[in-house]
Symmetry: C2
Subunit: 310 residues, 2 copies
Amino acid sequence: MAGSEIDLAIIGSGAAGITAGIYAARRNLRVRIFEREALGGQSALAIWIENYPGTKKMKGAEMMEQWASHLKEFGVEIEEANGVESVKKAGQGFEIVTDGKEKVKAKAVLLATGTENKHLGIPGEEELYGKGISYCANCDGPMFKGRKVVIIGGGNSGVTNALWVSEIASETTLVEFLPELNCEEVYLADLEKSPIKVLKNTQALEVLGKEKVKGLKVKDRGSGKEKEIPADGIFIYVGLEPRNELAKALGCELDEKGFVKTDGKNETTVSGVFAAGDLGSGALAQTVWAAGDGAKAALAAYDCVRKTGN
Amino acid sequence: MAGSEIDLAIIGSGAAGITAGIYAARRNLRVRIFEREALGGQSALAIWIENYPGTKKMKGAEMMEQWASHLKEFGVEIEEANGVESVKKAGQGFEIVTDGKEKVKAKAVLLATGTENKHLGIPGEEELYGKGISYCANCDGPMFKGRKVVIIGGGNSGVTNALWVSEIASETTLVEFLPELNCEEVYLADLEKSPIKVLKNTQALEVLGKEKVKGLKVKDRGSGKEKEIPADGIFIYVGLEPRNELAKALGCELDEKGFVKTDGKNETTVSGVFAAGDLGSGALAQTVWAAGDGAKAALAAYDCVRKTGN
């Protein structure tokens, strides 16, 4: 812990934030990493990560613990369950108030708050959240052992979650809006071999159930026919949206989808404020990319801090 | 080996090329990776890599072997000692001739040829190359055990190489042109504890010796005084320059320093030609960043290949 006057405040501890922390600490910046939830961001929610070079297969949460331990070698610990309530320009730097009401002065700020899972916005989704609706099969999947599960979304997240859920569920259905799945091809063969029923070109219309999820009403977009799929659990993987509240509060310019615009060196339109990882408009939802982006942002923030003196 | 009609030709097998290979293979592209030298690029020349998240400390060459083994899981082997002699647009795609004179057709090309060490251009440097002048202490350092060594360049490469060379050399001198070293601060403490003599603000003027290196003539840029440092070996780490011959031959636009310009999706100004890693104008000389950039480029190349159909 670097005290309440620091060089760089990193907000968020996913792949981008942790890597930025490693780079900043190795440059000897006084750095703190604030994390509202638990460490690891979206990477920690991945069941398996199989494409981080050098690591053939590892649970996402385990990988992020390993990274945090690497970071700790340089004297920095992630402050879990201590997010940033507010941040504003103050003099040459920034004033931060943490969720724990601590005031921290920082010369530069690196936003690495990432994304959260998009909601579909269909009837029943909000009402039945936690009652069968979930955005994290890795967290909530096990409670549907021997039961019927629907996964919505045919990207990598949807498909990999469907694959493992199908090993414990009595029935697994994968629903994709588009005519084709958009996951990596490597998973298509696994899908073929699995008991998963795949419904492409299918729109989710409504979550059925009162006290708990009973099923999902869908429409075949080709024939226009509607039908009900019985389900005890529904996991939704239909994309990510940026956690941009702090960026907005700071006055950073956003792109049309709400991601933070940065220049070639990860600086936002507000001088001294940097963004890295999936919060930025280049968001790729890939651990290795977010890490590289975090490294780049930290080196740019270092230059910025050194330029401003001390 | 994916045959002589492929989807994506990756040229270069450093951190960017290998990661691009992993991503392309997982997307089921028919991909080949051509490498003129040995696998691993600049990363494999690093003595130690200590800032690749999750791996606290590993020899660069070992890390790259590990990555190549990861890549092999997806059926792709790096074709070492088989570079690309020429590549040109042909119809909808590209025609490649390898150093082994094989003709390969590819729908898209990913240039990941990286950089090589810059030369100083001082008298004696070219003439005594291999006779005491080297650009890779990791390769050639051991032959200077018990002898006098000068390292030119105070960035991370120069300093980390000076540190390990000082463990075997009888005398080690580090020469930096600027008034301050530009390595990560984490190494400054190590330098203090080492027997290395550091000369800052000092210009290298001439390599001394006829048949072999005898020393280095330098000038103190403050006082203007010149002096000769006796040396048996001189290692030069004064920056990197892009290996852009193929990019030039393809007609890709370069920036003022010769790095390849790309758009936000790593495509060069030539449609179907992508660039990743330190060959591109964002070059950071960091393994994790190059890897992330390779992943991004491969996903963009995938979209390009799929768009052009089969």
